[in-house]
């Protein structure tokens, strides 16, 4: 398979063109917005917890961005639904990268991580879970 086909493999294109969990949740329990000024990506993440106040019942995202960021965030919503905030707060980024399953250059890695970073910030705000790695002194992603 050529490098080209790897990067835009079918599953990436499928998530990009038919994103899962796309939309917004009114009255979400957790919410954050992230931007990557490098390429203009923006993502908003909304989370609703189940009755135990910890399990992620619903998660949605909205925003604009490149195929990699949109597909990665779409995959992320599938990955974290049904897990607890405590678990997702410390989710290893390698797990998401494995799911994405394509070689990423350092620049594109930032695109791929935008959704996860923003989700972790949302959970941190709502539940006090740890901030994502390296967020202290972050200069590439701006989180509002």
């Amino acid at each position: 398979m050529s490098e080209f086909d790897q990067m835009y493999r079918e599953v990436i294109l499928d998530h990009y063109k038919n994103p899962r969990g796309h939309g917004e949740l009114e009255g979400a329990d957790a919410h954050a917005e992230g931007q990557n000024p490098l390429c203009g990506d923006e993502v908003s993440i909304f989370v609703v917890f189940g009755e135990d106040g910890d399990t992620i019942d619903e998660v949605k995202f909205s925003g604009r961005g490149c195929a990699i960021s949109q597909a990665a965030t779409s995959m992320l919503t599938e990955m974290v639904k049904g897990r607890t905030a405590t678990e997702v707060g410390v989710l290893d980024k390698e797990e998401l990268l494995e799911e994405i399953g394509i070689p990423l250059t350092p620049v594109r890695l930032k695109c791929a991580m935008l959704g996860l970073t923003t989700l972790k910030v949302a959970l941190h705000r709502a539940k006090g879970t740890p901030l994502p790695d390296g967020l202290a002194g972050f200069d590439e992603l701006e989180l509002s």
């Binding site: 294109l13 490098l38 390429c39 203009g40 923006e42 604009r64 195929a67 990699i68 594109r108």
Partner: protein, 415 residues
């Protein structure tokens, strides 16, 4: 500036001067359409750097020994070449800096801090690169002056009919504009703007970083007060650039960087400043880079700046014609006659990062992003655009490969 008849340039032939094109990238010949951000370097410049370091190098203006004199002559010779390029009345008005950004910061700090205050207006445009926008916004804030921007019309051209309204907002003291927009290629009416600025009693600061490599510049004809440009966009080394300024203004200004070499005498009580241009060249300068800049000026003037501009205009017309057939193509910028060799565009529904990535797989290098022009991007209502830009070594085949790559991008990622 003397107008000489230029012969048409042969880009295929000139390309052989640029070693970067000898290699393959991702198994393909390099199609380099990102010269607006930085140009490649010809052998003539690379050879000069090597010769200079190997046989002529020493620190300048300091030694009494022969080698230092040779190096100084090379460095000052480069200053004369760069000064001649923009038809500066005197070489001492040409300050070597680390690039156009530092040149503009020099003016913003050294002139702005002492000459701006409440009630004054610093006027930029919505088309500026951040380098001619952020320093002015910052210095205006520091001094209590008002910061305003001349708006753009839908083609990315300045709305000069807004000037009178803007002038009512206070005492216009600085007008800062790029001669050519790096994001859209717009060639701005700097001569007209300068005349208006002077009527207001303002100084005119021209960012020529994008113009100097492609467009003949005559500071005496423009009648501006300061002009900033960089070496690396015009076949020269990085980390060196120039500021041309009127001698009387430069002489009246406080220094910018302070330290060695820029002084007349240093005493415990007081230090006095050296003559132009040294007053603004503190510390050891990028000496070899400046010499390389001089070699780059020789190279582009041998090719002919007018011939470069004409070559790029032909490529622009050809590219716009071919790009019109790409599904979803949205172009930005003025018509070719008022535009340099830059095409800013989007493919409907596809993020520029994806476009640039797919093109990279085809060996085609373009830029995707905000091009350091976020105010312009928000005016256009986009986060980013793709940008293809040309130079003297650009050939039609590279444009064909761009167009083919865009068709492929649309097929793959189009909705």
């Amino acid at each position: 500036m003397a107008v000489t008849a230029q012969t048409k340039l042969n880009a295929e032939k000139l390309r052989a001067d640029f070693p970067i094109f000898d290699q393959e990238i991702r198994g393909k010949r390099l199609a380099y359409l990102d010269s607006a951000v930085s140009s490649h370097k010809p052998r003539q410049v690379l050879d000069k750097l090597r010769t200079f370091y190997e046989t002529q190098y020493a620190n300048v203006h300091r030694g009494v020994y022969t080698l230092s004199e040779v190096a100084t002559a090379e460095y000052e010779g480069a200053r004369e070449k760069v000064a001649r390029l923009v038809n500066a009345p005197e070489p001492r008005e040409l300050i070597f800096t680390h690039g156009a950004t530092e040149s503009i910061n020099l003016v913003a700090y050294a002139w702005g801090l002492d000459n701006l205050g409440p009630g004054d207006v610093v006027l930029v445009t919505e088309l500026e690169h951040h380098s001619n926008f952020v320093p002015w916004q910052y210095i205006a804030k520091r001094t209590g002056a008002t910061f305003k921007a001349i708006p753009l019309d839908e083609h990315g051209e300045l709305k000069l009919d807004s000037l009178e309204e803007l002038a009512r907002g206070g005492n216009i003291k600085v007008v800062a504009n790029n001669l050519v927009s790096n994001a859209l290629g717009t060639i701005n009416p700097v001569e007209r703007l300068t005349a208006w600025a002077h009527e207001q009693g303002a100084i005119m600061v021209v960012d020529a970083a994008q113009a100097a490599p492609h467009h003949e510049i005559d500071v005496q004809q423009l009648d501006c007060d300061f002009l900033a440009f960089s070496s690396h966009k015009m076949c020269g080394p990085t980390s060196v650039g120039a500021l041309w300024g009127r001698a009387e203004l430069l002489e009246s200004m406080a220094p910018f960087n302070l330290g060695g070499h820029m002084i007349r005498s240093v005493k415990l009580e007081e230090t006095t400043w050296g003559q132009l241009p040294y007053k603004f060249e503190a510390g050891t300068q990028p000496i070899a880079e400046a010499v390389g800049f001089g070699a780059a000026v020789d190279y582009v003037t041998d090719v002919g700046i007018a011939a470069i501009e004409e070559h790029e205009r032909e490529l622009l017309v050809y590219a716009l014609e071919r790009l019109a057939d790409v599904p979803g193509f949205i172009g930005y910028g003025p018509p070719p006659e008022r535009r340099a060799g830059i095409i800013s565009f989007n493919i409907e529904g596809i993020h520029p990062h994806d476009v640039a990535q797919v093109l990279d797989m085809e060996g085609v290098a373009i830029r995707a992003g905000h091009h350091c022009c976020q105010p312009l991007m928000s005016k256009l209502g986009v986060a980013a655009t793709n940008r293809a830009s040309f130079y003297l070594y650009t050939i039609p085949d590279e444009i064909d490969r761009l167009v083919e790559g865009l068709h492929k991008t649309h097929k793959l990622l189009g909705q």
